[in-house]
Every structure is written in C-alpha cells, then in structure tokens.
C-alpha cells in the first residue's frame, strides 16, 4: 500500500529562524500519528507544508500529490481542523452543511446532520452564537462526514474543557477511524491522548528527534525507578535521562543507544535488579527527549 505522507529533507525558514531543518518522515495508512514538540518546534509548519498552506524546500508527497501545486485536489482526500476558531462567525449551521455539501464530493450531509442531532446545536444558529465547544462539535461533525483518507488535527481541543475533549476523541475513534484512514495530530496535551497514538514523531528545533511506532517504543525504551542503593550501578549503564521523584531516582534507558541492545536478554538481566522497570509513558519520554537534547 502506498504511503500517506512521504517527507524528505523538508526545510523552511522565516527570516532568520529555521522552522524546519531537514525533516524527513513517512506515515503509513491506518495509523494515528502524534506529532509532538514544544512551542516553536516546527510542528505547525510541518502540518502547513503537508496541507499546502506554506511554501518550503524539500520533497513532500501527500497521498501521492504535491501539496504545493495540487492543494485543491489533495483536499478531496484530506480534512483538517487547524484551530477551533476558524469557522466564520457569520455562517449558520445549516449553511455550513449546505456549503460543504456543495463543494465537497465526499461529504455526507445526512451523516453530519445526524451527528449534530446528538448535540445542542441548532441549524439556525450562527457560528458566532455558539460556545467554543459547540463550534468544535460543529467542525467535527463536518469533518467526520467527509470520507477522507487523511485527517490532520492541529491542537484540535485547545481551550476546551475536559468533557468536550473526551467527547471529541471518542467521536474520532468510534465514528471515524478505520484501517484505511490516517490521522495526524499535534497537541500539547500529550497525557490525554497518548493511548490514541499508534505512532509518534517528536520534533524539536525543526528536526525530528524520534520517529517510532508505539510498539517499538516499548521495545526500545525502559524506565526504571532505581532502588536507592543501586543508583551508581544504574548510572554506569548510561541512562539518557534521569530525574528525582519523591526522593527516588527515575532513569530512562535507550536500549538502542546502550550496549544492552545487542542482547535483550542481557538487558533484562542487567536492569531488572536495579529497581522497578516499566515502559515510559509518551509524555515522560517526550520530556526526557526534550531535556536530553
């Protein structure tokens, strides 16, 4: 099956600052990819490049198309929610459905209407009269009714309360996602959605710091809450990150970077006696990667 996104050597700079420096990654179909990075890391620039909203250097194919020259064609198979505030205030809910139905060949108006019936949103309301959460619900209703192959979400739940955030991701998983579809998400609230991801790409200072499936992460990284008397012994094995939590030292090891990689059996033998081992959460790993850099 063809790749959904193939990026090679993406470069983009605004004036003096480099937003993207030689970014390469691929995204396979049927994945939910988290694009994670601190503010100003280049996430949004990368998304904008994928959506044909900005110029850049390098090679990029999205669903086999060049977003720079084939944006309108690409948008038949790509949906995106860039930010909650982008639906125009003057638009009525009914008009929004009529509009997307008129211009989008893969939009199912009945499906969007059905989704809206589950909410408190009325067809006559204007977007400016809706609460922030309702605007997101409306946008999601429009997006979920589009039979797109790639869905791009840029901080889709920013500024929403927990209830709306949970509903948003539930709707995404239950009503939308399947093995032919791919979802690319950027978010700050990593803890909340990390169970969603099948893949993660960490990006920092315009570079890809980590690109892995979640399964591989579990094979590669191990977190140990080190027993107090074993700290020196553990440090000798070169953890790439360590911090203290409630007086206990937590270390994260990269099996690929350590000698441990050569023999996973040996890893278990060497690490297990040092303390309590487990797979680090994506949030922990993210913090570790950013601080180690």
């Amino acid at each position: 099956m063809t790749k959904v996104i193939e990026a090679r050597g993406l470069k983009k700079s605004y004036h003096q600052t480099h937003a993207l420096e030689d970014v390469s990654f691929t995204v396979e179909p049927g994945r939910i990819v988290g694009l994670i990075g601190p503010n100003g890391a280049g996430k949004t620039t990368a998304l904008k490049a994928i959506l044909g909203l900005t110029r850049f250097d390098g090679e990029l194919r999205v669903l086999g198309l060049d977003p720079r020259s084939q944006r309108d064609e690409l948008m038949r198979n790509v949906s995106f929610i860039a930010d909650v505030a982008v639906l125009p205030g003057w638009l009525r809910v009914g008009q929004a459905l009529e509009l997307v139905a008129g211009v989008h060949p893969r939009f199912n108006e009945a499906r969007a209407a059905q989704f809206l019936r589950r909410t408190d949103i009325r067809m006559r309301s204007r977007v400016r009269e809706l609460s922030k959460g309702m605007v997101t619900q409306l946008h999601l209703a429009l997006i979920l009714a589009i039979d797109a192959r790639l869905l791009v979400l840029d901080e889709p739940t920013l500024g929403l309360d927990l209830l709306y955030r949970r509903q948003f991701y539930d709707a995404l998983l239950n009503d939308y996602f399947n093995e032919e579809r791919t979802i690319l998400v950027t978010t700050h609230q990593v803890e909340e959605v990390e169970n969603l991801f099948t893949d993660v790409i960490f990006i920092n200072h315009g570079r890809v710091v980590l690109d892995s499936s979640v399964e591989k992460l579990a094979e590669r990284y191990v977190q140990i809450t080190v027993a107090p008397d074993k700290v020196a012994q553990a440090r000798a094995l070169h953890p790439f990150y360590e911090r203290e939590v409630f007086g206990r030292v937590v270390m994260i090891f990269d099996r690929q970077a350590n000698l441990l990689e050569a023999d996973p059996g040996q890893a278990a033998v060497e690490l297990a006696p040092l303390g309590e081992t487990r797979t680090p959460s994506i949030a922990d790993l993210f913090v570790a990667k950013m601080e180690a850099a």
Partner: protein, 325 residues
C-alpha cells in the same frame, strides 16, 4: 382533513430543474454554492437593493403627486407629445438610486471579500475545502461583475413597473393627477439605455474593480485607505516630483473616457425638448443617438478588461502563496 402520504413526509421538497441539473454537474454546483456563500456573508449585497426598492415604492404610495416643473402645473406640461419624455425620465430617476447604491456596495464588497477571511482567520477553514484559489476568486468576480449588476438591473426594472403601476392606480382612483402614462416604446428604449450603461460601466470600470480585489487580497489592514489615500498621494507625488499629470489623467480617462466614445454628451444635447416651460431630455431619443460601435471597438475597453483579469489572477496567486499564521 386529509393526512399527507408517508412518502410526502419523508421525501424532500421536489428539486427544481435547475437544482437537479446542478446536482449532476459538480463543477457548476460548486460554483453556485460559492456564489451563494458570498450572499450569506455579505448580506448587504441583497439587502441594500431591496431597501432601495422598498423606499421607492413607499414614496410612490405616500408622496403627493402635485409635481411641478418650473411652476407649471402638470396639466400644462403633460401634453401627449411630452408624456413619453416624462415617463422615460421617471424610469431613469428610479433606476439611478439603485445604481448608486450598487456602486457603493460593490466597492466595499470587493475591498472586503478576500480581506475578511484573513481577518477572522476563517481562511484556514476555506482552504480545508477542495476549492482552488482560482475558483474562489472567480466566484467573487462573478458576484461583483455579473450576479449583482444583473440582479440590480432586474430589481430596478420591477421597481420601475411597480412604481408606475402604483402611481397610475392612484390617478385612476382620483387620488393624484395622472403623471406617469405607460409608453411601451419609451419603456423599452429607456431600459435598454440603462442596460447599455450598466454593461459599459462594468466593462470600463473593471480595472478599478480589479484593483480593489487585489488590494483586498494583499493589504494587511486599512484596505479603504490603500485605494483612496495612497493613489491620491501618488498623484500629488507625481505632480511634485516630475511635474507631470500622467496618473491623474489616466484616472480621469478611466472615469469618463467611454462616455465620449458613446457620444453621450451630444446625444443628450440633441435630445432636449421643451416640456411646458422647461427643457427636458428625451431618454428614448438619447438611446437612438448613442454610438454603441465606437465604445465597444475602443481597444482601451478590452485592455482594461485584460488588466482586471490580471488583477484577479494575481489576487488568486497571492491568496495561494500567502502564509497564514
């Protein structure tokens, strides 16, 4: 009382022929949707002309018909020969407010249409739809150059007829003197003159429209200032720096030039008649006297159109290339 059949309840209202045809043609359907979208956002485009019509019709109902021309009673100037002239003049006078309002509305519309979507950040939503920048700009050009002018003409025409009907009705019931007497030839010729003026205006003034559209796509703020103060400063600068008037004569020419080609001035001067004690222009005669040929063979008319098209193309490119953050 009969109950509706189940199928009537379930099925949507029967789609008109146009809708059905559009549904079978995705490109046309998209374009029609984009055009309707413009009227959703810019409600003044249809509300303004409607308000003008309603005001004119209210005037027809409430104004007292004792109109006087140079102190002459209607009976003095409303002889059979001048009836058509007065009738035509009224048609013209009723259309002028529509055209003035349209000019204002279209100017502000074009200045706003590509600017508002950046201001309210909805451009990211519009760009998430499979609509090219070219189609977006084309829909706005179609609204400004075709849909609104034709709609305004049609609305003005209907208003003219209704206004005359109301006034004639009042004359029949003896409420006011007979001022407007229907004259089919005068009506058709006056409306044809109005339509000609409209078509020529849209074509000749298209460079202005193009500039407005391009300003709307490019400017970050104060769009109105960019198309008023900045050109004025340029004219003054040219005068001081080079001592020339090239820019102001160009604007002057693009404002009046085509009306000389139509021989409008001589047509008007040659169509003046005495109506009672006053001198009044006979518009049906003006229509007979204007020279349509020279206006449409003036290469500047078409060059202006090419310039406007280039502006629209540039506006689409700017919209496509611009980085929205």
């Amino acid at each position: 009382m009969s109950t509706p059949s189940p199928s009537a309840v379930v099925s949507r209202p029967a789609e008109s022929g146009l809708r059905a045809w559009l549904a079978g043609n995705p490109h046309l359907r998209m374009f029609e949707t984009l055009v309707r979208r413009e009227f959703w956002e810019h409600r003044s485009l249809w509300r303004g002309p409607l308000v003008v019509s309603v005001l004119l019709l209210v005037c027809a109902v409430i104004t007292h018909g004792a109109l006087k021309i140079d102190a002459a009673e209607p009976t003095e100037w409303l002889n059979p020969q001048s009836k058509a002239i007065v009738f035509a003049l009224a048609q013209w006078a009723l259309t002028v407010p529509h055209y003035l309002v349209m000019t204002l509305l279209l100017s502000f519309y074009l200045l706003d249409c590509l600017y508002a979507e950046r201001k309210d950040r909805s451009i990211l939503f519009w760009k998430s739809l499979p609509v090219s920048d070219g189609a977006t700009v084309a829909s706005k050009v179609a609204v400004a150059c075709v849909v609104v002018p034709l709609g305004t003409f049609a609305l003005a025409l209907v208003t003219d007829i209704l206004f005359t009907a109301i006034w004639d009705l009042r004359a029949v019931i003896g409420h006011s003197p007979e001022l407007l007497v229907w004259d089919t030839v005068a009506f058709l010729k006056t409306q044809a003159l109005m339509f000609l003026g409209l078509v020529v205006s849209v074509l000749w003034y298209s460079p202005f429209l193009g500039c407005f559209l391009l300003a709307s796509a490019c400017v970050r703020r104060n769009v109105v200032m960019w198309v008023t103060v900045v050109p004025l400063l340029l004219v003054i600068f040219e005068r001081i720096a080079f001592g020339t008037h090239w820019l102001s004569s160009l604007v002057n020419y693009r404002t009046y030039g085509i009306w000389y080609d139509l021989h409008l001035e001589s047509a008007v001067l040659g169509s003046i008649h005495n109506v009672g004690p006053a001198e009044v222009v006979s518009l049906p005669e003006v229509f007979d006297r204007v020279h349509v040929g020279p206006a449409f063979t003036n290469i500047d008319l078409w060059l202006g159109l090419v310039f406007a098209a280039a502006c629209a193309y540039a506006a689409a490119r700017v919209r496509g290339f611009r980085d929205e953050t």
